[in-house]
Subunit: 154 residues, 3 copies
């Protein structure tokens, strides 16, 4: 089964690459690694705003982190295409850094981030298992509830 | 035009490499990538102290982030020199991580960080366009308003 | 002197690799680099809970960061073993990212993180000197006082 078939089984449609909100690129390819910029969570095309421990719950965060993972896969697909390759050619999801918009009391950043990690593993199986850091940040650009960056090897 | 001529056109003088405030190096070269440590913002040689959403405005932050970018280029120059090379030999600014000292209300970390990203693009043109994450941290070493780390390929 | 003899001189016993609290791996090897996931501080096998500027002092944090460094070396040892190699074969500690659980007032994240950096240098000498970012986060998974991730070259 190809990655695209796997996405179809999961009912996932890849989005177009979002234009960064500022002066940078959605991804840079450096030798065999693809560095994806931090992607903020979106819902219905708008910034998914919220802060855990204040006005957002862990379970909603899992969905937000999953949504970011889908956007990251959309960007990864575009990065692969720019090399004349496809998502099938990704050798490994290497690392994920997950920034969770968090009050000083919230302590379930790892559970929120599982929404991203589990989607990556569902799509890429062994190749999707990655190193990871997840932590609580004071705020995120435009008030987003989650921002995630990723490194993959092609 | 060389990178040094481009810096001259922009009126930028590269600083000497700052000595880290602690037990680490300003940069490490690993194969073809140069990893630059987080550089905190400085003004007139002193730590540029402040917190966005409390006692600093976005526009001042753009200047602070630009100042960090110049310090990063100074360190990158030293890293290149240690290889018998120069800033002209940098193939790509790969990734920037920008830590913005932020109250839980401030949401313009991306605009602050543009001060760094736009300087890198002005100096390196296409080679300066990079992947990026920017987010709000609870505090920074010595109260600095911004800290930025960078990866470049040589 | 091998790295294992050096650890013995320092009185350090390497721990077993901790099972991640969520859906990710403790390390991923990508070509010649080992990416270690963020490791949270532990004391007597339990999460070392605390927030600097609120209920933890810098000096205690130095010990916590040193404890994380030992756990990172345990994971690095396992990563090397998976390649049929050992800690002696590590060529360079490339980069450390240190997340310090911090109130908006605490500004000594660099001093806390020295507990990790100095241990790495004591064990690996020149090969242990690394690039680094240290900063204050709003909170950490399970309330941990420090979380550190690392990249090493094998």
């Amino acid at each position: 089964m190809t990655i695209y078939q796997q996405l179809q089984v999961l009912g996932i449609t890849l989005p177009a690459v979002a234009t960064p909100a500022a002066a940078y690129l959605p991804f840079v390819i450096s030798e065999s690694h693809i560095y994806l910029s931090g992607h903020i969570a979106k819902k219905d095309g708008k910034v998914w705003i919220g802060q855990f421990g204040k006005n957002m719950q862990t379970q909603e965060g899992v969905h937000a982190a999953r949504a970011v993972a889908i956007d990251l896969l959309g960007t990864l697909d575009a990065a692969c295409s720019s090399l004349g390759k496809s998502l099938n050619d990704v050798k490994q999801i290497v690392k994920v850094m997950s920034l969770v918009n968090s009050s000083p009391e919230f302590t379930e950043h790892h559970l929120v981030t599982n929404g991203c990690s589990e989607l990556l593993s569902a799509v890429y199986k062994e190749r999707g298992a990655h190193a990871r850091s997840a932590f609580g940040v004071a705020q995120l650009p435009m008030g987003a509830c989650v921002e995630i960056e990723m490194i993959a090897r092609i």
